[in-house]
């Protein structure tokens, strides 16, 4: 059987191979090969649609680190199916589009590696059941998004946009991680499915509310919700295929996914309801309001995406109320908000993907996306114009396009919620339809701006660097396919409802019985009711506002340029930088001896302090073996060598005396019958001595240092302190019994690991994880030394970038 785990790993494997393929394949655009990955995965997933639609779920676990409850568990249900299809489907179209968008002169191997990395990570987010694994993939999407935004990294704006997106989404991600750990503390599991089953026992837990807020922070930052939306417009510095894919169709919807996934966990709580729906509404309004004033087409679409994400988010919030009321005939009506959310999620990906591709075409063919320089393109770019009209009107919520259906359902849900009699909605509920309506008016206005200012009106060829011409066929295929979906979904919405949306309703409302009841039939025509009136109102007022745009546009000037969220972000960033510089300069003196003092003082305070605090210093020498003569002699030799080192006149002498210490310890190991340690000590000592001698070759003569009495005193105190602590630890370690004994390892090593050498059995098998990470650290340290010495900037090339 096709395992979902494979679907996640596959893009990663290909991402690793792309650079090698790229070097080999010169005769054809590498994108054609990369495109096979999402197409394959899409077909594999699509074959599972019927079984998922019939209520089946696919669950598969690879034990990863079972001792920490971290397993690579995938769970394919209705909700993850929607996202899986979007990621692979839109992914295929975007790659097809990018083949014509990016010329072979760009560093395509990087581009496609990052894109596949993102695809795998995003599939990992939606298919993972284990929260820790989900978190890893979540942050990987941020990292790959960073790399893709900064793809044209010679531009300053690209780098800054990438940094901003990274900082905001990763901080949200870290908050979410803390939330996940709290969930584990409460429920004792990292599995979302198990948490959903057991969370009802923990709703009164003190951690419940903080957990919810932290998880929401992760979702809001990722999905660019107010006031974290500021990263999305800056992320538009990425190549347009990336914007179409990551920043409208998939990655920004990860937050939506998280909220939908956690609705059965937190939904039904008042805080969840208000924060998700109100933040969503605010985002929707603020995004659409700001989109109107953008002169840059891509920025307009960015704000429009923010607004639409807010719409979907608020619908999920509204739908969560059904869980508070509980499963009954009355509460079914509220689940329709969630249904609308998932429906609009798909619709948004289709029309917004097409619109981004239109902007890409305009930018690519004409060299600008500024609406002040565009106009009258429709005669010369008829196909692009058609796509823009279909996408734009769908976004505005007009028939016969899919946006109309979900927009109507959205209005219906907001009207419905103001009639609910929980959470004091009787009083405050009325704000939902009002805000939704106002925001939709602005949505209508910017859709008109997008279509009319770009394609209608007088052409301005004198302001363009290139002659107006239609895009190559290849760039038109993907948006045309998306447009086919935009129209197709309008005429056959129930097909989507039955096969895709119905099973995902079962994921969001697992306790609500038959998902068929939760799936309404979608009608384009449903009589003259409130939502149709609202749509007509939107069209009339929107058209009026567009007509009078010049008269009311100065409104935007009223907003202060000083107190924006962007300024807040910038000032926070620069003040953090300043603060950390001051702190760092305070202790990084550049003198090795100071750093050694820090390290040793830290050692004395933590190790000595902990042992003292826990009462471990109990010295009992009555059970120790008696001291033999040669042991005493060895100790005497070591003591003499140690003291003599202080008075050594040259570095060589000191090194040799240090060697005496090291080899004597090796002899001690021999006496105490620890051949492994003795061997290791001998070889380490030899290699380090060679290393020391090598280093001394480059060092100046050893001169007597004249240091102040204060330094001398500090040094004396620190060195005596370290000596005393080490000695005390050595004496009391025999009687310390606070830790679990590890003897069970070496008693059974031969049966468990098949090795008689218990040291190696522990290193390679029982604690193999530690050893593996140690090897990695060793390697990194080696590379660090190599780069520090070999690749450091020479004094003369001072302008080296760092």
């Amino acid at each position: 059987m096709f395992s979902v785990n494979f679907a996640i790993i596959f893009p990663f494997i290909i991402a690793a191979l792309v650079p090698f393929l790229y070097r080999r394949i010169k005769f054809v655009h590498i994108g054609w090969f990369v495109m096979l990955v999402p197409i394959t995965l899409f077909i594999l997933l699509a074959r599972l649609i019927p079984s998922v639609a019939s209520g089946k779920t696919f669950f598969h676990t690879y034990n990863w680190i079972p001792s920490l409850d971290i397993n690579f568990t995938t769970y394919l249900d209705g909700l993850s199916m929607i996202f899986g299809l979007l990621i692979t489907g839109v992914g295929s179209l975007v790659i097809l589009y990018s083949i014509f968008y990016l010329s072979t002169k760009e560093s395509l191997q990087h581009f496609y590696s990052y894109l596949l990395l993102f695809m795998g990570a995003m599939l990992g987010v939606v298919f993972s059941d284990n929260l820790m694994v989900l978190y890893v993939f979540w942050e990987l999407t941020s990292v790959s998004s960073f790399l893709l935004i900064a793809f044209w990294n010679h531009r300053k704006a690209s780098r800054q946009g990438a940094q901003k997106a990274m900082l905001i989404t990763v901080s949200g991600g870290v908050a979410m991680l803390v939330g996940f750990i709290m969930l584990h503390t409460m429920t004792g599991t990292f599995s979302v499915r198990e948490i959903v089953l057991s969370i009802r026992d923990f709703t009164d837990h003190t951690l419940f509310l903080p957990t919810m807020i932290l998880v929401l922070l992760g979702a809001f930052t990722k999905s660019a919700q107010f006031p974290f939306h500021i990263w999305l417009p800056d992320a538009m510095e990425a190549p347009t295929p990336v914007s179409a894919y990551l920043h409208s169709a998939t990655m920004v919807k990860a937050g939506i996914y998280l909220v939908a996934r956690f609705t059965p966990v937190f939904g039904g709580d008042q805080v969840w309801f208000w924060s998700v729906s109100v933040i969503g509404m605010m985002t929707m309004f603020w995004g659409s309001f700001n989109a109107v004033r953008q002169p840059d087409l891509k920025a307009l679409l960015a704000y429009s995406t923010i607004s639409q994400l807010g719409l979907i988010m608020s619908l999920l919030g509204l739908g969560s109320i059904a869980l508070n009321i509980g499963y009954s005939a009355d509460s079914i009506i509220y689940t329709q908000a969630t249904f609308a959310a998932l429906f609009h999620l798909i619709n948004h990906s289709t029309f917004k993907g097409a619109l981004f591709m239109v902007v890409g075409i305009v930018d690519h063919e004409l060299g600008t996306r500024d609406i002040r320089r565009l106009g009258g393109l429709f005669t010369l770019m008829p196909f692009t114009f058609t796509i823009a009209v279909i996408g734009g009107l769908s976004m505005a919520g007009l028939p016969p396009f899919n946006g109309f259906l979900s927009k109507e359902m959205f209005f219906a849900a907001t009207v419905q919620i103001s009639n609910a009699d929980v959470f004091s909605l009787q009083t405050f509920g009325v704000i939902f339809p009002i805000v939704a309506w106002i925001a939709s008016i602005f949505t209508f206005v910017y859709c008109l701006i997008f279509i009319i200012k770009t394609f209608l009106g007088p052409a301005q060829p004198e302001k363009l660097d290139k002659p107006i011409h239609e895009a190559p066929v290849g760039m038109l295929i993907s948006p045309l396919i998306l447009c086919a979906f935009v129209v197709g979904i309008f005429f056959f919405p129930d097909l989507l409802g039955k096969y895709i949306l119905q099973p995902s309703m079962a994921s969001v409302y697992p306790t609500f019985g038959d998902p068929k009841e939760l799936t309404p039939s979608i009608y384009a025509w449903h009589g003259f009711n409130a939502e149709l009136m609202m749509t007509i109102g939107v069209i009339v007022i929107g058209a009026l506002l567009y007509n009078q745009l010049k008269k009311w546009k100065p409104v935007y000037g009223l907003f202060s340029q000083k107190y924006t969220f962007n300024m807040l972000y910038n000032s926070m960033l620069s003040s953090t930088e300043k603060g950390s510089t001051i702190v760092t300069k305070g202790y990084m003196t550049g003198f090795l001896r100071d750093y050694l003092v820090y390290i040793f003082v830290f050692f004395i305070v933590t190790v000595g302090g902990f042992l003292f605090y826990s009462g471990a210093f109990s010295i009992d020498i009555s059970t120790d073996a008696s001291i033999r003569v040669y042991e005493a002699i060895l100790v005497g030799v070591m003591a003499v060598a140690a003291v003599a080192m202080l008075f050594a006149k040259s570095r060589i002498t000191a090194t040799l005396l240090n060697g005496v210490l090291g080899y004597s310890i090796a002899i001690f190991f021999v006496i105490f019958r620890a051949p492994d340690l003795a061997l290791t000590q001998l070889v380490v000592e030899s290699v380090t001595t060679a290393l020391f001698l090598l280093c001394f070759y480059f060092l100046p003569e050893w001169k007597r240092e004249t240091s102040s009495s204060k330094t001398k005193l500090t040094n004396a105190i620190v060195s005596i302190g370290v000596g005393v602590v080490v000695m005390l630890v050595a004496f009391s370690v025999l009687n310390y019994e606070k830790f679990e004994t590890i003897s069970r390892y070496f008693e059974n090593a031969y049966e468990l690991a098949g090795g008689a050498n218990i040291v190696n059995a522990i290193l390679g098998d029982f604690r193999g994880f530690d050893t593996m990470l140690e090897v990695v650290v060793l390697f990194i340290a080696g590379l660090g030394i190599f780069t520090m010495i070999k690749l450091r900037a020479k004094k003369e090339d001072a302008d080296i970038e760092n």
């Binding site: 690879y62 034990n63 990863w64 680190i65 079972p66 690579f72 051949p675 492994d676 061997l679 290791t680 070889v683 380490v684 030899s686 290699v687 060679a690 290393l691 090598l694 280093c695 070759y697 480059f698 690991a753 098949g754 090795g755 008689a756 050498n757 040291v759 190696n760 290193l763 390679g764 098998d765 193999g768 994880f769 050893t771 593996m772 090897v775 990695v776 060793l778 390697f779 340290a781 080696g782 590379l783 030394i785 190599f786 010495i789 070999k790």
Partner: protein, 140 residues
């Protein structure tokens, strides 16, 4: 001034092979008797360091064209990929296993997956130690 190091060179020629053999022996015997990947790797590394000490870097590089950074990287890759190998077989990450086989010459022999992991450790140690010493000594 040229140091007369004929003795060192002559001795090195023989001793290096003894040390290398000893290193391999330590590595292989580590499962049941003292030795293992780390110590085996260190001994091998010290053999290489001795080679570099007795003759100059260029001539060693000519007869032993190894990039020790790559050796280290390969070792790390080997050690970590054994962990993923166990995932492919459906057992937890980094699970190790062993079995006894009857081989033609060696008779009853124990083969373990730890050996692969330890080989990675050994290669990483050799690579890192030699890289560090070489890069410090080559510094101008």
């Amino acid at each position: 001034m040229r140091i007369n190091d004929v003795i060192l060179r002559t001795v090195t020629k023989i001793v290096v092979f003894i040390i290398l053999t000893f290193g391999v022996y330590l590595f292989l015997s580590g499962h049941n008797t003292p030795g293992g990947g780390f110590i085996g790797g260190l001994v091998l590394a010290s053999a290489f360091v001795l080679l570099y000490l007795s003759s100059d870097i260029e001539s060693v590089q000519k007869s032993l064209p190894l990039d020790f950074k790559m050796v280290a990287a390969f070792g790390v890759l080997l050690a970590t990929s054994t962990g993923f190998g166990s995932l492919l077989l459906g057992v937890p990450f980094l699970s190790q296993t062993f079995a006894y086989f009857d081989l033609p010459i060696f008779g009853k022999t124990e083969l373990t997956t730890v050996t692969i992991f330890e080989a990675g450790v050994a290669l990483a140690v050799v690579g890192v130690v030699v890289t560090i010493i070489l890069s410090i000594s080559e510094d101008e």
